[in-house]
Subunit: 287 residues, 2 copies
């Protein structure tokens, strides 16, 4: 059986045809332009290929509540051309096959749990720290979803005592994303995050915010592993700083062999998958 | 088929025999004394009744990770006689039937989703604000669990600007539980929470902390309804204060018809079930 897969990202769409063994047979990458430019290319790629179902891992926020009238529609995305665009419905109507849709970060969490750095455990939370901050979780054999696309990147954090950056989230000011996403590191320090490697204070403050988020995720969903990806996490020195801060904040409260000084290096980890994770995950959604 | 059910609480154990239609046939309530006093009574109640499985909703923290070597054991509970007590294993060994175990708050969330104030939606988060603060969630047809018993009551909150109470959690000081559980309201104001009804500032501050927690739960697990119970929530004036603050903090970010001024009264609600919720939920676990 042939299946379709789309990794719909803010900068590019990865389109693929695969089979029900999870193997990719054909792949194409196109840029993310406005829907009237991008979507005809997407439809053209799949037409006539005989796919029986289509899996989509999409940028967001996107409505992934199957009961909702706007299931599969983009929401308040910063890519304004796509706001309210009914991505799922459009694909289903034009291609005439069932479409299964999830968020990019949920798909990443699932992929890491299946084939990546969380393949030896049953649950995984994936967080990306890049232009924005987003996270997804895979647990109990499914990705986490409820009322809407969870927006784990916007949780409340406490301000670092040495930090007077006002915060840049247009909705919340100093939420996690407004304090710790790449563009806000740049605004706080007046230089691109990638050029601040030597400045210890930058990463001390960054780790403080990210550790708070991780601690709340641990208290609330209790994943068996946390995978951290995205552009900002290329600063590898963040990992030990975050791990240390997480243990400090938990202060021994959660009794788990995964959360000790000896084991936390295997609990908070970088991604195990690289390029094909998104589209492979999307294919898995269709399986 | 006959099934056993236990609601194991910090003050009492509710024991019941039911059938696989979810009907209770027989019930007994015993006090929560140290295990060597309570457990023989529990065993005696079930012996010879021909139950084929046993469901348990337990106070905690308790290890509910089935892969764990200490599955079913109590952890750092303030009821010190029960610390490390292997509740699940003991029941299984003595009664010779499979034991299915979950936290009291997960069971409450499931019960509210099946029979209570969330029976019209698919997912529900239940939070109790009492001697401590705990929460559980039911979504995607199962309760939320991962590495360990989630400890949603200990998330980080931002201090209210008018509040100088230092916080009373022995692990974290000013975490949510340390700021907002019943005993800490009492310590902050020098009077039992139940006697502070007239003092607006008390509930303004309380609502601020609880709203922060709810907002983080919404961002992270995105339940379709939030049910708030426990002794402190008997102060009904908290509900409108919390709802207002939640909308303020979200600031329009989450696009959902459930999260508007018109609809939030049906999103953040009191429990629909009372006395038998715990034991009925435990029976359901065994089904
Ligand atoms: N080497 C680096 N060190 C620190 N920050 C980086 C680095 N590379 C990229 N970034 C940051 O990551 C952001 C881009 O994130 P990325 O995950 O690559 O893309 P996106 O989030 O748009 O999918 C930029 O805002 C930049 O600040
Ligand atoms: N009417 C009330 N108003 C405010 N607080 C109350 C009221 N009744 C009980 N409480 C608080 O709730 C706590 C007990 O919580 P409860 O949920 O009844 O039990 P537990 O958490 O021990 O299971 C007490 O600490 C008390 O401060
Ligand atoms: Zn925000
Ligand atoms: Zn605490």
């Amino acid at each position: 059986m042939k299946l379709g897969a789309i990794e719909a990202g803010g900068t590019k769409f990865v389109l693929a045809v695969g089979n029900d063994q999870g193997e990719l047979l054909e792949k194409e990458v196109i840029p993310t332009d406005p829907p009237e430019v991008t979507m005809p290319k997407v439809i053209a790629f799949f037409e006539g290929k005989g796919i029986e179902r289509l899996g989509v891992g999409s940028f967001g926020p996107i409505d992934i509540n199957k009961e909702s009238a706007t299931y599969g529609s983009l929401q308040k995305t910063p890519k304004t051309d796509w706001v309210d665009y009914p991505l799922g419905k459009e694909l289903q109507d034009k291609l005439g096959v069932p479409v299964v849709l999830d968020t990019d970060v949920n798909v990443a969490a699932m992929s890491e749990a299946k084939w990546g750095n969380a393949s030896d455990v049953d649950s995984c939370l994936y967080i990306t720290v890049g232009t924005g901050i987003g996270a997804g979780a895979y647990m109990g054999g499914q990705t986490l979803k409820g009322l809407s696309h969870p927006e784990m990147g916007h949780i409340l954090v406490r301000r670092h005592e040495k930090d007077d950056y006002e915060g840049g989230c247009p909705y919340h000011g100093d939420c996690l994303e407004g304090m710790a996403a790449g563009p806000h590191i740049e605004k706080r320090w007046g230089k691109a995050a990638s050029e601040l490697q030597e400045l210890e204070e930058v990463w001390e403050i960054e780790a403080y915010y990210l550790a708070q988020a991780l601690v709340n995720y641990i208290y609330i969903v209790s994943p068996e592993r946390i995978v951290m990806g995205g552009g900002v996490m290329k600063q590898k020195q963040l990992f030990p700083l975050i791990r240390k801060k997480v243990l400090e904040l938990l202060n021994g409260y959660v009794s788990s062999p995964s959360l000790t000084e000896e084991t936390i290096d295997d609990y908070i980890v970088p991604p195990g998958l690289t390029d094909e994770a998104g589209v492979k995950g999307a294919l898995y959604l269709a399986m």
